[in-house]
């Protein structure tokens, strides 16, 4: 059985879709079977970041409504044969995303894939709660600023109350992915410190992704950053985060700071 991950944040525009694509492509490069699922009905983006927008025929809603088979809606990546996309509908009403339908699709995907990564829409409405509903673990994407941190805190509360895992009385595994981290702004004190974000959210750190033009360049050519430029700083941070998701224990470095000093502290917390 595959693992279901929800990539979520509460706040919009913090890097959920970017992270879904980057982590998906990183895990697929380890030869594991990965599907990335776009839950952002009406505002789909994942197809663009994956460079598959012209190959979408059927989507998640079609499958839920019984208008297409799952195998017809899945799009295989042209570069990585273990990476698939299940796109969202851009035109249909998001009310078509029913709890029963989502459950059926996720159950089917889990049988075929090692990783099912769900790209959540922003907000705390039904789209976001459905995306997290069947997750085994959550990647909480947060930018180092107060509003993003507070929204993430709110989302963590929902992860602990509105998911199947929570309702069964189990613990949802939650990981913090700090994105758009700008070393220069951190130096000037214009951003929340990593320690402060960790202290407020008190969940383990999965990785710190630097703010970088490489992310924009990759999405402009329709490629996850971990495929477009594997040696770039954000790609390397995403590769490490993917290894941690898969259970490896690695030290974490804060971009712009010397390796090792903080690494030791956070490696322990992330484990």
């Amino acid at each position: 059985m595959g693992k279901v991950i929800v990539v979520t944040s509460g706040k919009g525009g913090v890097g959920k879709t970017t992270s879904t694509a980057a982590l998906g492509a990183a895990l697929a490069q380890r030869n594991e079977r990965v599907v990335v699922v776009d839950f952002d009905v009406g505002l789909r983006n994942l197809d663009l970041v994956m460079g598959a927008e012209r190959r979408v025929v059927y989507d998640l809603i079609n499958v839920i409504q019984g208008e297409a088979k799952l195998s017809q809606a899945l799009i295989r990546d042209k570069r990585l044969e273990t990476l698939f996309l299940l796109p969202a509908s851009q035109t249909r009403d998001k009310d078509n995303l029913t709890p029963e339908g989502v459950e059926r699709v996720i159950t089917e995907l889990k049988r075929v894939f090692d990783w099912v990564i769900c790209d959540s829409p922003a907000g705390i409405e039904s789209g976001a709660t459905l995306a997290m509903r069947h997750a085994d673990m959550a990647v909480v994407v947060t930018n180092p600023e107060v509003s993003s941190v507070r929204d993430s805190d709110r989302i963590i509360g929902l992860l602990d109350s509105k998911t199947m895992k929570a309702e069964r009385g189990e613990r949802m595994e939650k990981h913090l992915l700090l994105t758009r981290y700008d070393a220069n702004r951190a130096e000037r004190g214009d951003m929340l410190k990593v320690e402060d974000v960790l202290e407020i959210l008190s969940i383990p750190l999965l990785g710190i992704i630097p703010e970088s033009m490489d992310v924009l360049r990759a999405s402009n050519i329709g490629s996850p950053v971990t495929l477009a430029d594997a040696r770039s700083a954000p790609a390397m941070a995403y590769f490490d985060a993917a290894r941690r998701l898969a259970g490896e224990v690695l030290p974490i470095t804060i971009p712009g700071e010397k390796r090792g000093i903080f690494g030791k502290i956070f490696a322990r917390r992330a484990a």
Partner: protein, 242 residues
């Protein structure tokens, strides 16, 4: 024509208790409203979605004055669900109903489940651990933004932090083994001896027995400190814990 009873099912009537915020205005109302606006401005959404009861016991006002006050409150999105202590002559049609018998703690509380109410319809976030005759509640994880823990029956202990935008409302004292960034209200049903303790004070609001203090009213030296707060007369006293 007589109405026929076609459906044999009986109507289910259930009793349910809610924790209401009681506002006790004093005269002149204009001054009181200014203070209310001040509280609302500094604590956005304080009354939103809460049942509010107006306590007019011993106020020498007539029906027109009461009506005006209710209209003023409605204009501030404070909707009154009932009036306590109003003489029959000032109540009447078109007014919220008279409420009697408000109790600091309900009699059934001892046999009932403790209340954890989460606004916004979320199910309970955390499994409360209830001990000795429901006089205390222990929560072993952080209370997240948007969550409210409401426990009129006694003390609340949080092993973890209380986030900005979260709130703890206890009939007794509030103990927080973590950082208090949100709101804590102790003695919420009228208990002046209740206290608030926290390992690190970054609170948006603290209240004891209805007396409140906002972040900006607190001495700057207390921020970030281990603090206990209690009531002396009508003022909240804070002291560093060592």
């Amino acid at each position: 024509m007589t109405k026929m009873l076609t459906d044999a099912r009986s109507i289910r009537i259930k009793g349910r208790s809610f924790l209401a915020v009681v506002l006790a205005p004093d005269l002149p109302f204009d001054d009181w409203l200014v203070r209310l606006d001040d509280l609302a401005a500094r604590s956005a959404g304080f009354f939103l979605g809460r049942p509010v009861v107006l306590d007019v016991t011993d106020l020498p006002i007539d029906r027109a004055q009461l009506k005006d006050l209710i209209a003023e409150l409605a204009g501030r999105n404070v909707n009154i669900m009932g009036i306590e202590g109003g003489r029959p002559s000032i109540l009447g049609p078109g007014m919220p109903p008279a409420l009697k018998g408000g109790r600091p703690v309900s009699d059934e509380a001892v046999t009932k489940e403790p209340i954890i109410e989460l606004r916004n319809g979320e199910p309970k976030p955390v499994a409360p651990e209830v001990r000795s005759a429901l006089q205390s509640m222990v929560i072993r994880e952080p209370v997240r933004s948007g969550q409210s823990v409401i426990f009129p029956e006694g003390d609340v202990t949080i092993i973890g932090s209380v986030a900005s935008g979260a709130e703890i409302i206890a009939g007794g004292s509030v103990h927080i083994y973590g950082t208090l960034r949100g709101r804590a209200m102790a003695g919420s049903l009228g208990n002046a001896s209740a206290r608030i303790f926290c390992r690190k004070l970054e609170a948006e609001l603290v209240a004891i027995d209805g007396i409140y203090k906002m972040a900006e009213d607190m001495a700057p030296g207390l921020r970030g400190q281990s603090v206990q707060l209690w009531l002396e007369g009508d003022s909240i006293i804070a002291e560093k814990l060592i």
